[in-house]
Symmetry: C2
Subunit: 346 residues, 2 copies
């Protein structure tokens, strides 16, 4: 076969595939608004993943000694077994203080435009530095994180392997880099909806297809779109009608607190809806325990419509198709503390 013939065959192959897709208008419409999760972790700009760096990041992610009390790790609130989040309205942190907002899932967070509900961290690397030093979360003073890590002998080799060109690799910046490359592996491909997006028409049930159709037609997808079905933009909570204070307490002005721009009052990052059935409770307050209720509140507050029970059910069924393969993580063996390791703060 000549090169020319091959090119013709390939392009014919493509033509056939896209014509098959085009026959299903719902699939075609969905393909225009959403993208499937890839099978492999994306690369982070300026922070190449190596097995040693991913392994170090996993150790740090699970190490409670990064907190002042030595009891709270990234994993405490972003639990691999619970959809990458926790089962709390707001997480419990240092000395049983409650965090201000519901812990977002770490799964697929790498695909979000920015991190935190208010987008105050531009990426996973920057995000990873936040909770460690937040006084209501892990509560470690920033300078202490490095002292703590340097006081655990096994981390010397682990950082040297992850950052082989550096003379003094145990730094907060490198810890954040390593955590970020590990977190980038926490993706959940092959949800039924992803298989549907890839052309598998039967991957969604009839009611899920009906829900997808409503999700696009009613306007949900105006914000919840792209690879993470959310996570790509900001929106005011209550764009049409402000919900009650249980869902939108006046004390939390969202992105306004970051930008100080009046139009950002009560603006939040649109959360991903991937794996949403695994991560109750919902909203930045974690005040909605029932996904159906959350869907109905969104309809009223964001779209100004009263969804019928059947519509809520169908959309909720569609949301169930967003649960992908959960990451398979082998629990890391952490380097032990020794006599000289800095001790937990009571």
């Amino acid at each position: 076969m000549s090169k020319g013939t091959l090119a013709v065959v390939l392009s014919l192959g493509c033509a056939v595939a896209s014509s098959a897709l085009a026959q299903d208008p719902l699939m075609k419409a969905a393909q225009e608004q959403f993208r499937p999760i890839p099978e492999t972790a994306p690369e982070l700009p300026g922070n190449a993943a190596t097995p040693a760096k991913v392994e170090l990041g996993k150790m740090l992610y699970f190490d409670p000694r990064l907190s002042a009390s030595h009891t709270i790790s990234c994993s405490s609130c972003h639990n691999i077994g619970l959809g990458g989040a926790d089962a709390e309205p707001t997480s419990i942190g240092h000395r049983w203080q409650h965090g201000g907002r519901n812990a977002p899932t770490v799964f697929n967070a790498v695909f979000n435009t920015a991190q935190f509900w208010d987008g105050r961290a531009k990426d996973l690397e920057q995000q990873a530095g936040g909770p460690m030093v937040n006084p209501v979360e892990m509560a470690s003073p920033a300078t202490h994180v490095v002292e703590q890590l340097k006081g655990i002998p096994g981390y010397h080799d682990a950082f040297a392997a992850a950052f082989p060109d550096q003379a003094d690799p145990i730094t907060l910046d490198n810890a954040q880099k390593a955590i970020a490359v590990f977190e980038a592996t926490l993706i959940t491909p092959n949800a039924p909806f992803d298989r549907f997006l890839r052309g598998e028409a039967d991957a969604l049930s009839p009611v899920q297809k009906q829900g997808l159709s409503l999700f696009m037609d009613k306007g949900c997808a105006a914000c919840h779109n792209g690879i993470n079905i959310g996570g790509g933009m900001y929106a005011p909570f209550g764009v049409v009608e402000k919900p009650g204070a249980e869902f939108l307490p006046p004390g939390d002005q969202g992105r306004f607190m970051v930008t100080k721009t009046p139009s950002d009052e009560y603006v939040f990052k649109v959360p991903t809806l991937r794996n949403i059935t695994l991560t109750a409770p919902y909203f930045h307050t974690g005040a909605a325990w029932d996904l159906r209720q959350a869907v109905a509140v969104m309809g009223a507050s964001q779209l100004g419509i009263q969804l019928s029970t059947a519509e809520v059910d169908a959309i909720t069924a569609f949301l169930g198709s967003l649960t992908g393969e959960q990451p398979k993580v082998i629990y890391p063996i952490l380097p032990p503390s020794v006599a000289g390791t800095p001790r937990p703060q009571p």
Copy 2:
């Protein structure tokens, strides 16, 4: 080769092996007092392990929703990554209360004569029920544990698979059984000392052999013996000389609080020394952070001797040979909460 010849060859093989062992008096003496950890999990009487039961037990072990707050799991204080214990003097529990005693390692706990520092639980099954309902630990009322589990739909199938002959398998008793069979898999075989016990003379370094020799000659092995180098008996802390109140606070009378027998005052279960370098801090108070210090205190309080620095160093080096292969545990994916799942108590 006839059957008879084979038997002769085999018995000759055995004779050669035991004569080789007998040539090393240290190895021979050690083999009389200690036993290696097996490669596979032991069976629990009346609680046969099946893959479904072990998997359920793992889920329960990692599920923070067994605690009132939904933030504390077995894994919080018995961390697979930290030698099966935590890095605290005493663990932090419900509403930031501190437990009364240092969290013992779950690793190889199946080989202990009894569980808890005061032996108040006869086995892993009985132990597993303790922390869930202890008000300073996980703080779930006993009746609530079952309500909680029944309120998580995914547990219905998981319990049915683990206890296939039962009509209503979600019970506290079954939860404890499942946790126990999972915990029985958390064993750490093939420590250098185990390889030495199996005849590998070079598995210990010269200083470790010197330490082993001291460990037996000075009397440490009178209590710390058997498969777990401890865990097989009770002993008064301060049998010769009471240590200071930092190590033996007068308020905690140990096994006396269980048996009310005067001779049990300040009696505690002799802890395992397996993986001891991974589980600082030490003693039931967790007041000793330095393993060398713990060895010296034991010499003075239990044996009435002042160990020299060189002796302490050699014994500590020997203790380093008790670190076995750490369990390889894939983080379990937990069944999600739904709208009707009982919610965390604040």
